[in-house]
């Protein structure tokens, strides 16, 4: 096994025993990157030089016998809507042209404290709006399992980086499924923490009441390790929870025995591809064979989740994106001859079609005369979704669904029909609406493409969620069984 193919936990051990050097991992990773990146296009920018310098520093410290955090020297890729001080943040948009944040996101500060090595900034749908990376204004990332297919989105680049071996772990952001859906499409682990578990300071906001940063990894333990680093109260984010985070990795105890699983009927019907459903049932049965029970449960409000989401998320986005006006930073149209015109032209040229669509929807639903019919009603539905989950968790330990209704779709397949694209998030959106933690883990291949299993837990129930995911991982051995050809072979298919 090549060094870049190892998990963070394995590398941490190898670094300490000095059987593997950080520099070697990073150097090999970049050599592999040179081979595969032209095919999959995970990154918007890479930090090859600084990563090698950092790697050498880490080796010196390991040689000295310094007591370093487990993540020290681990290569991590960062979604390009999370600020790294002094490096351009693009959000895959033209409107942020030239914008260099003068501060780190809190998650970056916390990772830096643990001496991770940031490999680069990864591709996304513009401002995290989309499910395929096709809305990136730079390029579309490609699925390492099948280069004619999308990797999912919006954190497609971060999923591809991990699935193709160009980073050991990565960070994404998840507003309606943007971590879990690409994790499912690319056959890796993706965790969306409870709303408030991880600071949003330094994450460019899409929908503030739904956004949450989380990790991608190839093993459940690696996600626990990254969550340990990034979780916890941040005085700079008033919505971050002031509860202790614990140590998810060190207390990880993989098991599914005695687990009560509820499977919402609403996400197990004809909208789910039968091939996907079959893999999910197989996974449920595997857990049942090992001491868990599962049954279907009715959660009627979930049917309304997508419609509700496409009122609340665009409403918040329409305000969040108002600051991109050409006045202080980013793109400004030089030909405008008055103030209004400058706003219009700058925003008109700087934003892509999907972003504009959502700004228009959001502006509309908040307009006087429409607010109650849309926004107020959506908030009511949102509380019904919260209630349905709360009731379900009185009876079940976890709620399980397919992460996405299908496997990765073809490039351009939904280009003409944004609504069909929106439905790719049918199973992930309700979780954001309720602010709950959820993890997607690979549960097999359908027609050669990965299928994702979504496990949802009660608020701040990450530890149990990780225990169950790791329990299933141990049974299915997915990190060994489901590796993309590009990852397994080191060259693209």
């Amino acid at each position: 096994m090549a060094n870049w193919q190892r998990s963070a936990v394995e590398l941490a051990q190898a670094f300490r025993s000095r059987t593997v050097k950080v520099v070697d991992v990073v150097r090999e990773l970049w050599a592999h990157h040179d081979q595969v990146e032209p095919s999959v296009k995970a990154y918007i920018s890479t930090f090859q030089e600084s990563s090698l310098t950092q790697a050498a520093e880490m080796d010196a410290r390991f040689d000295r016998g310094d007591d370093l955090p487990l993540l020290a020297g681990i290569p991590i890729a960062i979604k390009d809507n999370i600020h790294v001080n002094g490096v351009q943040t693009t959000c895959a948009s033209q409107i942020l042209k030239g914008f260099v944040p003068p501060f780190n996101a809190t998650v970056i500060d916390r990772l830096a404290d643990r001496h991770v090595i940031v490999t680069g900034k990864t591709n996304l749908d513009e401002f995290a709006m989309g499910s395929s990376t096709e809305n990136s204004s730079f390029h579309t990332s490609l699925n390492p399992w099948d280069l004619s297919r999308v990797p999912g989105g919006s954190s497609g680049g971060s999923a591809v980086a991990v699935a193709s071996g160009q980073a050991v772990v990565s960070l994404g952001s998840d507003t309606g499924g943007s971590i879990r859906q690409p994790a499912a499409f690319c056959g890796v682990v993706g965790l969306k923490p409870t709303y408030g578990r991880v600071s949003r300071y330094g994450l460019v906001a899409f929908a503030s009441s739904l956004d949450q940063i989380g990790p991608f990894s190839r093993t459940v333990a690696d996600s626990a390790l990254v969550l340990d680093a990034i979780a916890g109260h941040d005085p700079k984010d008033a919505t971050s929870a002031s509860r202790p985070s614990g140590s998810f990795y060190s207390t990880l105890s993989p098991t599914v025995a005695g687990l009560r699983i509820g499977v919402p009927k609403e996400l197990f019907g004809p909208e789910i591809d039968p091939g996907v459903k079959a893999k999910v049932v197989a996974a449920l049965d595997l857990m049942r064979a090992n001491g868990a029970t599962w049954e279907e449960v009715e959660m009627p409000s979930l049917r309304e989740a997508v419609s509700t989401y496409y009122i609340i998320a665009p409403a918040e986005a329409s305000a969040n994106l108002s600051r991109f006006d050409g006045v202080r930073y980013g793109y400004r149209d030089a030909n405008a001859d008055n103030l209004r015109d400058m706003f219009r032209r700058s925003r008109g040229a700087g934003f892509g079609a999907e972003v504009k669509r959502r700004i228009i929807i959001g502006t509309y639903v908040l307009s006087s005369g429409y607010y109650d019919a849309y926004y107020t009603k959506a908030q009511k539905l949102r509380s019904l979704i919260v209630r349905d989950f709360a009731q379900a968790f009185q009876k079940y330990d976890v709620i399980v669904t397919p992460t996405a209704p299908s496997t990765a779709f073809k490039l351009g397949e939904h280009a003409a029909n944004p609504l069909a694209m929106y439905l790719a998030d049918i199973a992930t959106i309700p979780v954001n609406m309720a602010g709950l933690p959820a993890i997607s883990v690979p549960c097999g291949l359908h027609a050669g493409l990965p299928v994702g299993l979504q496990l949802v837990g009660p608020a701040f129930g990450e530890q149990q969620l990780l225990n169950v995911a790791a329990g299933y991982e141990a049974l299915a051995q997915f990190s060994a069984h489901y590796q993309s050809p590009i990852f397994a072979g080191g060259t693209h298919a």
């Binding site: 994450l203 984010d237 409403a315």
Partner: protein
């Protein structure tokens, strides 16, 4: 002809005197170099998030308690959306349908009669930045417009009155009383020139006796007491003229122009923004514990109207109360004198009179006065014990505020203590009587006024150092013996 009655409501924006801005740690210092008191949060950079300033909440609660409002245990911040270069986020964070305080009042005294002005609500919000135009006063026509975001995110409270005000005078008295109360709370510096207090005036006319309201205009950002009166007078005149001519008042936002002393239209109702308010998702609802609100209520400083009542009880006149309460430092000065033993009326007389005018001449405040409260108490002691006369004391005050020397030191240095020795003065009095036998006769004949002449002679002889009441009794005594 129909007589019209003005109906006026006032929205006052008061800047809170906190250490830092409403949602970040930047200073709110006025007049610093542009764009120096800024950070990612108040610059509206992507990824930055607001965190509410606890002190600002405390100050808003203090204002609510001091204005007899209901302080609400839960209030909500919303986003008010509009585009302008001085608004970095493209929205202002402001409380909207769930403000922090409701239902208060403020009493004003109009020509001796107390009138209660209702306060609808108080809400918290952040200020915008400032545009400085080059080549023109407005953005249209400017060659360059500079954006200064030092003021962006400064904490404000907006105090909205009921439409209870009827005249320009009442409006002025209301804003003056409001300013005084906020200044006494120590939550606003009340500096209208620097924009720490700004008023928006909602005004409509209706036939006298009518109960429904006419169409109103809103005049924005009036920033002096005089402008408030003039803006209202000119707007009443303008609306009256329209109505008398049978025309309609158009609902508009207007702007007062000090140079023409009239209002002009800023925008019509049709151009009014749809602000698309919705709850700010970056801040959870603000929940205050009843205990915390109570502790603020319990520790509220004494308010000017309570002080005035106390001062009147100590014998001060309304005029003296007004002068002493006009600025908190003047009342602090007064109270410091009284608490160290000075007679309230005597202290008030000097504070309102000579000391006040001496300081005005020097353009100094009572806090800056070189004659401190201990000095004034010393001066009052010198007068009381008969060491100096009131007239001499005036000179001593003048010297004290200029030199900073203590009254006792000044008196000692000049050797000018009062003569209160009876035998010494009797000799002088006898000399004067001898020299003016005709006047003595007039006094004997019952012309009491003539004694004043003799007093003046004695005072001149003693260079003003004789104790006046003693001199007067000695004159009468000596004459009666002749």
């Amino acid at each position: 002809m129909t007589l019209f009655e003005p109906v006026i409501g006032i929205e006052v924006h008061a800047q809170l005197k906190t250490n830092t801005k409403l949602f970040c740690g930047c200073s709110i210092q006025f007049g610093d170099k542009p764009n120096t008191n800024v950070c990612p949060v108040c610059l509206g950079m992507p990824g930055a998030l607001p965190v509410l300033n606890r002190q600002a909440v405390e100050y808003a609660v203090m204002a609510g308690v001091a204005l007899d409002c209901d302080v609400r245990p839960t209030s909500v911040f919303s986003r008010k959306n509009y585009f302008y270069p001085d608004l970095p986020k493209g929205y202002q964070i402001s409380q909207y349908d769930q403000p922090i305080c409701l239902n208060g009042f403020l009493d004003i005294v109009v020509d001796g009669v107390t009138k209660r002005i209702g306060i609808t609500r108080i809400h918290m919000e952040e200020d915008a930045g400032k545009l400085v135009h080059q080549g023109s006063d407005t953005i249209a026509g400017a060659t360059h417009s500079h954006v200064d975001l030092n003021r962006a995110c400064t904490p404000l409270i907006e105090i909205v009155s009921e439409p209870d005000i009827r005249t320009a005078q009442e409006a002025r008295l209301y804003v003056e009383a409001l300013r005084q109360r906020l200044v006494y709370l120590g939550i606003c510096d009340g500096n209208m020139e620097e924009g720490s207090l700004r008023a928006d005036i909602n005004l409509s006319l209706r036939p006298v006796g009518a109960t429904s309201f006419g169409t109103r205009t809103e005049t924005k950002n009036v920033n002096s007491f005089r402008s408030i009166e003039r803006a209202i007078q000119s707007e009443i005149a303008r609306q009256t003229q329209l109505l008398v001519a049978g025309e309609r008042v158009v609902q508009q936002t207007r702007q007062y122009d000090e140079s023409t002393q009239s209002t002009r239209v800023l925008r019509d109702k049709e151009d009014s923004h749809d602000y698309r308010y919705f709850p700010e998702p970056d801040l959870y609802p603000l929940v205050l514990s009843l205990d915390w609100i109570q502790s603020i209520r319990d520790t509220l400083p004494e308010l000017p109207h309570a002080k005035a009542a106390r001062y009147r009880g100590a014998g001060l006149s309304d005029f003296e109360c007004d002068v002493i309460l006009s600025e908190p430092e003047t009342s602090r000065y007064f109270e410091s004198c009284v608490s160290t033993g000075a007679d309230a009326k005597a202290a008030a007389k000097w504070i309102v009179g000579d000391l006040n005018s001496q300081l005005k001449e020097l353009k100094q405040s009572f806090a800056e006065s070189k004659l401190d409260p201990a000095g004034l108490v010393q001066l009052l002691g010198l007068i009381d014990s008969g060491k100096i006369s009131g007239k001499m004391a005036k000179d001593v005050v003048a010297q004290c505020v200029k030199t900073g020397h203590a009254p006792e030191a000044i008196v000692a240095a000049s050797g000018a203590t009062q003569i209160s020795d009876t035998s010494e003065l009797t000799a002088v009095v006898d000399r004067i009587l001898d020299a003016n036998p005709d006047v003595v006769e007039k006094v004997k004949g019952g012309k009491a006024n003539s004694a004043d002449f003799l007093m003046g002679q004695v005072m001149r002889e003693t260079k003003g150092r004789a104790k006046p009441d003693l001199v007067r009794s000695l004159i009468l005594e000596c004459i009666s013996r002749r």
